[in-house]
Amino acid sequence: MKRHLLAFATALVACAAQAAPVEITLARFFGSCDAEFGQQTDPSQVSSECGIVTVLTNKFNAQQSGRIHVNTQVVEHSAYYPQLGARIVGGDLPTVAIMHSSVLGDFAKRDLLQPLEDGLETSDFTPHARRGVSFGGHVLALPYDSHAMLWHINLGLMKQAGLVDAAGHARLPTSSQELLNQARAFKRATGKPYFVWLTLNDPSFFARCILGLVNQQGATLFPKTDRAIALDTPEVKTAVTLMRTLYAEGLSTRHMDYSAALQAFMAGGGGVMLNGTWLLGQLNDRAAQVGNPLSHVYEAVPEPRLYAKAATWADSHVWVMLRNPRQTAAERAAALSFLRFLNDESLAWARTGQLPARQSAVDSPAFKGLPMRAALGPVAQIGTGLPTTVARQARVMGLLGDTISSIVVSGEPMEATLAKGQQRINRLLERESRFLEH
């Protein structure tokens, strides 16, 4: 009788265990599109960021049915980090969370992240992705992509200006002077500005441009220490002068925010739009349709090399596991299993337009077979950002962008404005440093 009872109890426990998969939470942005893709498990049928991450989560849940279940907690992009900060303070921690590699340093310095090198295969990360997630000898996140600034080009207008090579690709400038010459020729031929710029409400645009141009000159914005930016260097002034000249001569659009710039480019309002990899899919779809200014005349390339070396601003989406004293071994194992799944599905995410964080994926025929991607491989090598140890990078980039925008758009004097911007940023970094020391 006892034996039967024991067997019955064991069966009950086994059933209970079967009925209760390990629940983990996934905090992310990218929007929520369960209504559209709630039942979908095939990522090849989707191309938007929201769609693919939703479908991948569905696929994982389906594969792990009964063992692991991922509960997604979506927060709007601009409110994501304030909420995550509050959740950390309140001890209400998601098991897995998305971040940008540019903010990772702030979390790493506060020792809030779990090292992942024991649970993940890290040797396949691209150089840019690896730089973004490595801190103090540890890998603190799974890099999910690299997203960078691209030149989105209207080949129709470029052809009109005689700036297309024999193969039908845009003839890209190889120096700052050649860029100015091409831009002037473009304007003379088409009557339109060469560049479509995001000059309103988007300080990060200017910060990203300057970062790339300074790095192309072999310099860095933080030459001495990660606590002091240097905006009074010849390289910064060279880059700012170039942008100021382009703007002053009407070689770029004016008074446009993100949406207006995108609309202008799609309407054929300029030759080259500087914007992110994330627009690749949409613009490519647009170009595939007939009867619009981009029809079959669109291409995207990495920022061309104007100075000594190739470089472009890049950031990454990364997945992290926050330190959580209440986390069980089963939850950690489940979370790592989910991260490994996402890593394996790197190519699916690349369909959004973002570049894979795995070198094998970048080099794969499947990736190169996607529209425009073959030309974008170098971004994984030349992508650059602020040094990972620089604190408060989002704020630093905002202040940097405001400074450059003041000079380029508002015509403020360069020397004084750069000095003021440098002072503001360094004061911020000093405060942050004092805070961390205490």
């Binding site: 929007g31 960021e49 927060v75 709007e76 304030p82 609309q263 799609m266």
Partner: protein, 273 residues
């Protein structure tokens, strides 16, 4: 009597200003009736057909949206009632009752008006985390019940009620509670309506506190839930959907306004409904 020229000019000016005020709202409504793909190319497409209800259908296709509406109704409704009750009681106490330290306590309440929300939000969040109240209605409602403006408004209103009315009731052996409930409180209806409107709108549109207190989608309020569905570049890639969300979120408030229009106008104008 025929209206004078001055009256006509005044009326024309008022109509012009009203139209000017309505223009952004009409713009939002028009954008919400266009497809995202069209708006990504040009926003002036609102001046031509076709229009679509697809954005609204997309909102309603999310099964969670009705839960979010319910959450917002519960949170805003209960919060408004409790704010009215507590502010009225506190206001009456400050206006009519004498107790030790009254002036200091009242000054402390007023000081609450000067404290910006971000300054207290983290300690408040920790406090509620320790109480285990996040992701609950209590967690969404309780922090907003401390309403210094409400207490101040009701105090001033109670002070304006003639004492003779209460003295007459006292002569009839009415208790303090009866005087408050039966005599004085009904006289403060305009102030209650004003405070009620402000409290309801503040609760309905609240974003910061629900954002950090409700992390489970089933506890999202409408503002939070709708925002969570926005993609990263919604302002360019999903403009129609974004505007439809704005209209959808405003609908319950508009319905409420339609029902209580008479009271609201009277409350704001300081007259009787």
């Amino acid at each position: 009597m025929k209206p004078s020229l001055f009256d006509r000019v005044l009326m024309a000016g008022a109509i012009a200003l009203a139209l000017l005020w309505m223009l952004p709202l009409l713009w939002v409504l028009a954008l919400s009736l266009k497809s995202n793909a069209v708006l990504m190319e040009r926003t002036d497409a609102i001046f031509s057909t076709p229009f679509t209800l697809r954005n609204y259908a997309d909102i309603l296709a999310n099964s969670a949206v009705f839960r979010w509406v319910l959450n917002s109704c519960v949170v805003a409704g209960v919060q408004t009632l409790l704010v009215l009750l507590l502010s009225s009681l506190a206001g009456y106490g400050f206006a009519r009752c004498d107790f030790r330290g009254k002036r200091v306590v009242f000054a402390l309440v007023l000081a609450g008006l000067a404290v910006p929300e971000p300054a207290v939000v983290i300690p408040l969040h920790r406090f509620f985390a320790e109480l285990g109240l996040h992701n609950s209605y209590a967690g969404l409602i309780l922090p907003r019940l401390a309403a210094p403006f409400g207490v101040f408004l009701m105090t001033q209103f109670f002070k304006a009620v003639p004492r003779e009315l209460e003295e007459a009731a006292l002569m009839d052996n009415a208790s303090r509670w009866t005087i408050f409930w039966r005599v004085v409180l009904p006289l403060t209806l305009p102030a209650q309506a004003t405070l009620g409107i402000f409290s309801f709108l503040a609760a309905w549109n609240d974003y910061l506190w629900p954002l950090i207190s409700a992390t489970r989608p089933e506890m999202y309020t409408l503002t939070l839930g709708l925002a969570s569905t926005q993609t990263n570049f919604a302002q360019s890639e999903g403009l129609g959907f974004l505007m439809a969300q704005a209209v959808f979120a405003a609908l319950p408030v508009l319905v409420l306004y339609a029902f209580f229009q008479r009271h609201i106008v009277a409350a704001v104008a300081g007259g009787k409904p």
